[in-house]
Symmetry: C2
Subunit: 149 residues, 2 copies
DNA sequence: TTGTAATAGTTGTTTTTGTAACTAACAAGC
DNA sequence: GCTTGTTAGTTACAAAAACAACTATTACAA
């Protein structure tokens, strides 16, 4: 069956998805079990932890995530007192989001877990492989998806 | 806010997910619009195209996909006459799946699209970067997720 | 000032997924 | 033979995601 066909098992989007799924799994379990968070909630949390104060749409832009996903994540995070919202008086459409002390604590905790997790993940990659990998991923993530026919 | 904290924007699972999503998008559109397929259906199709005849669980193992997802994808593919099922007489629990001529045609078409798509995707990566990337992804995808505390 | 468009965010509905429980067929030990 | 366990695959129900339509507010131009 396999002549010298194009090798779909090495197809980049496929490999990327596999690697992404496998390498997210164990960490996902941590924020799920420890704080009952979903992926988007963790992303909102870490963006707020990193940047301090953002609006929902700023997070959406940075994390390339749709606004409805962000909206619902923020809802759950405020319900659980990880995040507080504050209306902007200059522009009352806008809400500024910040972490509560509890949110800060969760962020600090998960950041450390992430640090250790990543170290374990890349344990059998060389330094050179790692930096090549990162560079390539950044490039791929930023490239506008090629138009097609 | 950012001292010399661990940089979560460069967190490997995050980068992998972003790269995977962005780099799947345009191709996804092709199999969706052209054949009404979802991602798992496309994966089943390409595994059958590549290996000729497989059972649902063989595909599940190779593609690291849960059997319910495979089951539903196979259903839709048979409904649309891309795939046929045949019971194994030695073990009647098992069903062998193969592509219909229509499935073969879709496979051949999409494989060519994939080939060109990937070429466009990696256009600004060097050969060395590409092979390093592939190697790293394979390693990550195969590594059992590290246990955690 | 008022009408049109744009932006921030939410809500409702439909698809898809995840999880668990299920049926059917086989295997192996007693 | 029968019980117990395992494997292949399906189905049912709950959780999450995608998509579209919506409110509220602001911008801006006729």
């Amino acid at each position: 069956m396999e002549t010298n066909e194009f090798d779909l098992e090495a197809f980049l989007p496929y490999l990327l998805n596999q690697a992404a799924e496998v390498s997210s799994l164990a960490f996902q379990q941590v924020y799920k079990e420890r704080y009952g968070m979903l992926r988007t909630e963790w992303r909102v949390l870490f963006h707020l932890g990193l940047y301090g104060r953002l609006t929902a749409s700023e997070i959406g832009t940075r994390a390339k995530t749709h606004k409805t996903k962000i909206s619902r994540a923020v809802h759950r995070l405020t319900d659980r007192r990880f995040v507080t919202r504050a209306r902007n008086d200059q522009d009352r459409r806008v809400e500024h989001l910040t972490l509560t002390p509890q949110g800060q604590a969760a962020y600090a905790d998960l950041r450390e877990v992430a640090r250790r997790y990543e170290a374990a993940l890349v344990a059998d990659l060389t330094e050179a492989q790692m930096s090549a990998l990162r560079a390539a991923l950044v490039k791929l993530a930023e490239a506008a998806p090629a138009p097609f026919t």
